[in-house]
């Protein structure tokens, strides 16, 4: 069949498909008269008044299939697949093949588009699905916990015994800043060198940006065979341990620990979650099991992003608590300790029991793809 006959035969299909994709489904019956020139499927711009001016960006909207046109759209889609294959096989002009290819891209996107999750499902996801996702990564959680807390504990204890140790990790200006931050004689706020009223929001913005950036970097550092994640976790552990040990050793313990108590549950767990996501990435590259590294990386990135969603939420909450609650001088330390313990308990219960009913099976840990 010649190209002209091919175009003549199928042009009405293509026009109908375009009008469906452009959302003008009520065009009425497609016209069957075709201009004599070959390639009539492509009329010059002056003869296409109803089409949008720029057709470079197809309408790749992600809404569900509109009811009523789905069957017709699917049928036209199936026919287009065959028509494109025929056009390629018969060596028709590249322009025509290119046009059909682009049309297929648009149709394919519309037919296979996944609608975004409904908001009510997100809450359910957060409460029920997320904890089980976290539990599924428990080897990496343990690794991240060790990498983060072990250096922290070691350096913290060492620094309490020998406060001068802090100078191997921090420069003197930082040390002085930390001394000032947790000075019991602070009038208004702990945790910031010079703060006055009205800067809680500023602190919130600062903490959120600082900590979430670190969390993200901890996660994606795992791509460097896990080394980035290890570096971030260990370095932050050492740093925090040194500060904790030093400030406690010089006697500013109570402001410091009451400051930390409030948001520690949120922030430390967010860091550990980010670290677990990072080690998951790194491990996929080091030991992909029975999958190719690329495939293992895909799955690890997918799992890691799931963890990061929760970590991000925790970072935001932690910044909020840190800015508005933890730093308040006027709140007695006892209240802060209580709230801190409360948050820890809440978090542990959420992660251990969330989404787990008596009947649900144990979540499958990633085992290198040995099971299906």
């Amino acid at each position: 069949m010649s190209q002209a006959r091919f175009v003549q035969r199928h042009a009405s299909d293509w026009r109908r498909l375009r009008s469906l994709l452009d959302g003008k489904a009520d065009d009425g019956p497609p016209s069957t008269d075709v201009p004599a020139a070959a390639g009539a499927e492509r009329a010059p711009p002056s003869q296409r008044p109803t089409e949008r001016p720029s057709r470079r960006f197809p309408s790749l909207d992600r809404s569900p299939l509109a009811s009523g046109v789905s069957l017709e759209l699917a049928e036209l889609h199936g026919r287009l697949v065959v028509q494109l294959a025929i056009a390629r096989e018969r060596g028709y002009a590249s322009d025509l093949v290119e046009e059909l290819n682009e049309l297929l891209l648009r149709t394919h996107a519309r037919v296979h588009a996944v609608p975004p999750p409904a908001p009510r499902n997100m809450l359910r996801w957060l409460l029920e699905v997320y904890p089980s996702r976290v539990r599924a990564q428990y080897p990496h959680l343990i690794a991240a916990l060790l990498l983060f807390f072990a250096p922290m504990l070691l350096v913290g204890v060492a620094t309490i015994h020998d406060p001068e140790l802090v100078h191997t990790l921090l420069d003197p200006i930082e040390v002085m800043a930390y001394e000032r931050m947790y000075d019991p004689d602070n009038t208004r706020r702990y945790g910031q060198a010079a703060r006055d009223s009205g800067t809680d929001f500023l602190a919130f913005g600062f903490y959120l940006r600082n900590n979430t950036s670190i969390g993200f970097q901890t996660f994606v550092g795992g791509l460097l065979l896990g080394l980035g994640t290890v570096f971030y976790l260990v370095y932050n552990g050492l740093h925090i341990g040194a500060v904790l040990g030093y400030v406690t050793a010089i006697g500013h313990g109570e402001p410091l620990w009451s400051f930390i108590a409030g948001h520690s549950a949120l922030e430390l767990s967010a860091i550990v979650l980010s670290g677990a996501a990072g080690t998951r990435l790194g491990w996929a590259l080091i030991a992909p099991g029975r999958r190719t590294r690329l495939r293992a990386l895909h799955e690890a990135a997918r799992d890691g992003v799931q963890l990061i969603y929760g970590a991000s939420a925790l970072f935001v909450l932690a910044a909020f608590v840190e800015a508005y609650w933890s730093s308040m001088v006027l709140v007695p330390a006892f209240a802060k300790y209580l709230s801190g313990i409360g948050l820890w308990l809440l978090l542990i219960v959420y992660l251990r029991r969330g989404g787990r009913s008596e009947m649900s099976p144990r979540p499958q840990v990633d085992d290198g793809g040995r099971r299906s």
């Binding site: 069949m1 010649s2 002209a4 006959r5 003549q8 201009p35 004599a36 070959a38 390639g39 009539a40 492509r42 009329a43 711009p45 720029s54 057709r55 470079r56 960006f57 197809p58 790749l60 889609h77 199936g78 697949v81 494109l84 390629r88 018969r90 060596g91 028709y92 590249s94 322009d95 093949v97 290819n101 682009e102 297929l104 891209l105 394919h108 296979h112 588009a113 996944v114 975004p116 009205g198 800067t199 929001f201 500023l202 602190a203 919130f204 913005g205 959120l208 940006r209 979430t212 950036s213 993200f216 996660f219 994606v220 550092g221 791509l223 990435l281 690890a300 997918r302 890691g304 992003v305």
Partner: protein, 267 residues
């Protein structure tokens, strides 16, 4: 295939949407083939580093511009403004591409200006998790300096994927430029009078003097589509390189165009 070889070098755009199995030599186009569940094959033009760099530059300028704009606006709000500015900085650093890809039909404004689009490996619009993954991993792509890792990955991985694309399973696609409708304008070529004469001479013969493979037929059709854009001197020059097809013709270009027209079959 020497005649069509000449034709190929002169007239064929590199990267035609042809079946790669048919070309014996290495394909130097950046086509990313997708096999759809219906059994169809979709050719996506993967965008190369240069275009992606241009899009990034535009996006970077937009981000810097937004930040400067916000900083001047929020300056007057004191610490509240500074806090908002920090939040805005965080959003612009990490979330700007995600917002662009998910809320603006798969392309940030910079990509849109260059005509790029982010899609999943299977041709569907980029999904949320993949967009987050590829844009967070942007941090690693940027190491050690100015996207060096990302560029290396683009050169080595098929489909010009940087590390974020590899991990997330996405590909950045170049949408074809809006082409002028060449078919209907070529319906009456400048060579029509001679073409008619040629037609009389060839009416009783086969469509082409020598059998052509379908690849060669496609090249001929492409040449006919581009003949006007090439300009008549150049098109005639190219036509003169095909003695097998234009043997004995007074005007080789007209003969070739006529053969192409016969191949198309609409005349």
């Amino acid at each position: 295939m020497s005649e069509s070889g000449h034709l190929a070098t002169a007239a064929t755009r590199v990267g035609g949407a042809s079946d790669p199995a048919a070309t014996a030599n290495v394909s130097i186009d950046g086509l990313h083939w997708v096999e759809t569940p219906e059994g169809g094959r979709l050719a996506l033009h993967a965008a190369g580093p240069v275009n992606r760099a241009r899009a990034f530059a535009i996006d970077f300028a937009i981000r810097v511009g937004l930040f400067l704009l916000l900083s001047t606006i929020l300056e007057s709000l004191g610490d509240l403004g500074f806090g908002l500015l920090l939040l805005a900085a965080f959003t612009l650093e990490w979330l700007y591409p995600v917002i662009g890809e998910l809320c603006m039909h798969g392309a940030t404004p910079g990509k849109r200006l260059v005509g790029l689009l982010v899609v999943n490996d299977d041709g569907t619009p980029v999904s949320a998790g993949r967009s987050v993954a590829r844009n967070l991993i942007r941090f690693v792509d940027f190491l050690p300096l100015l996207y060096a890792f990302g560029l290396l990955s683009m050169f080595y991985a098929p489909g010009f994927k940087r590390l974020g694309d590899l991990a997330a399973g996405t590909v950045v696609v170049q949408l074809p430029v809006e082409r002028a409708a060449r078919w209907s304008t070529l319906g009456g070529t400048a060579h029509s009078p001679e073409a008619t004469a040629e037609g009389t001479a060839m009416r009783t013969g086969a469509v082409t003097p020598v059998p052509l493979t379908r690849e060669e037929q496609r090249l001929l059709l492409d040449f006919a589509a581009r003949a006007m854009a090439l300009g008549e001197p150049r098109a005639s020059e190219i036509a003169a390189t095909c003695p097998a097809l234009t043997a004995g013709a007074a005007d080789p270009l007209a003969r070739l165009l006529h053969i192409a027209g016969r191949l198309e079959g609409g005349r």
